[in-house]
Symmetry: C2
Subunit: 231 residues, 2 copies
């Protein structure tokens, strides 16, 4: 009856875990706006759950830095501030650099082909300026490298930090120039990965992250001067 495999799939995660995922998505897609209060009751209604699992989820998100809990005042969606960006990207850079080194040691030929395929798809998205698709595939590439590093602790840490930056990265519509540079960097990433050149891949990824940092910071600064400073 082919039950052996389904067992794993059927065992659904608990409600609070499901909620953590859903809320993460809402926050990343900025459907819950940064700086605003998390509407606990409304979300409970929306998902049809009671406050208990919702509050459990909020506590987990708070420890991940996606929301901030103020005693007796509820949960607030954290802002992506310039200071935070300047903090998180260097850490992410160090971790991605490590992932590059480890990936070069452990990646299989088949996995390199997978990344190559993703890279081609990403180039296509770039050609037609489909930012949405570009971001998605970009993420898949980084995740594939992370997977090849064979270190789940590293993966978890990276993805938690990525998550915090993602909304900023997504919102920070890349300029034409930055986008071109990013594509060039990815060419090198693929090249060094295929050559299994750990040190060069590491330093390329480090530089890649630093360029992303600078790009996001520039966007935040332009926004600061342009936008009305409410909130």
């Amino acid at each position: 009856m082919y039950m052996t495999e389904t067992k794993q799939i059927i065992a659904r995660k608990s409600l609070h875990h499901e909620l953590v995922d859903r809320l993460q998505t809402l926050i990343i897609n900025a459907e819950l706006e940064p700086g605003t209060k998390v509407p606990e009751k409304a979300l409970c209604d929306q998902f049809g759950v009671s406050r208990t699992p919702m509050r459990e989820a909020l506590k987990v998100l708070a420890s991940d830095g996606l929301v901030r809990l103020e005693p007796n005042r509820g949960a607030w969606v954290t802002q992506v501030t310039e200071d935070e960006v300047e903090e998180v990207f260097p850490v992410l850079g160090a971790l991605e650099a490590l992932s590059g080194e480890l990936a070069c040691k452990n990646i299989t030929d088949a996995e390199i082909d997978d990344v190559r395929a993703l890279h081609s798809k990403m180039l296509e998205s770039y050609e037609v300026r489909d930012l949405d698709a570009y971001f998605t595939i970009n993420q898949q590439i980084h995740r594939a490298i992370l997977h090849a590093a064979r270190n789940s602790t590293l993966s978890t840490s990276c993805q938690a930090l990525s998550m915090r930056m993602q909304r900023a990265r997504y919102l920070a519509n890349m300029t034409e120039g930055r986008w071109y540079d990013a594509v060039q960097e990815h060419e090198k990433i693929l090249e060094y990965l295929a050559a299994r050149d750990g040190p060069k891949l590491a330093s390329t990824l480090l530089h890649h992250m630093d360029a992303k940092r600078a790009s996001v910071v520039r966007w935040l600064q332009s926004r600061k001067t342009t936008d009305d400073p409410e909130q």
Copy 2:
């Protein structure tokens, strides 16, 4: 009535946050044994709280990897396995290396003096073979460097991972030889920090972590063959 100041002190963080701290301590000190079930009810009784905040705390600890939640089966204290150690220390190494580089850029002369003082105290603990004190001061030094790095994201990440390794590190009673080497490494750490030589401090910290990793792994392996393999 001098209430103004006590207010702050009395006004403790929320219950679940307090519980996260308490449970972390219990787990690090192995008062909650690795591999065993977290006795939810007993802990609620012990701390005089209901299950709600206790369960919130357990969810946070689970996302930090200190406990594992099994749906409908409760929370279990995670084991420090050899695989996990081989995973976590490289990540910790990369992060500490970064903290060293950043610390060299930002540390003040006064802070270097503080580290120097801690270092002396640590040497005294080593002379009299007071492992308990040695570990405590050792941690304070690493924390001081982290603080000098001026990156709270980095601090949080480092400390979360450190926490997971700490019980292993503490239990892994160092051999005389390893202890001597560790002290030598710390001499270098102080030297490069005082000289504000980022790259050298980074690579020393990286090596320091790798040596710790090897030491803990050796202990886990010896334990595996010595101990009865129950659980």
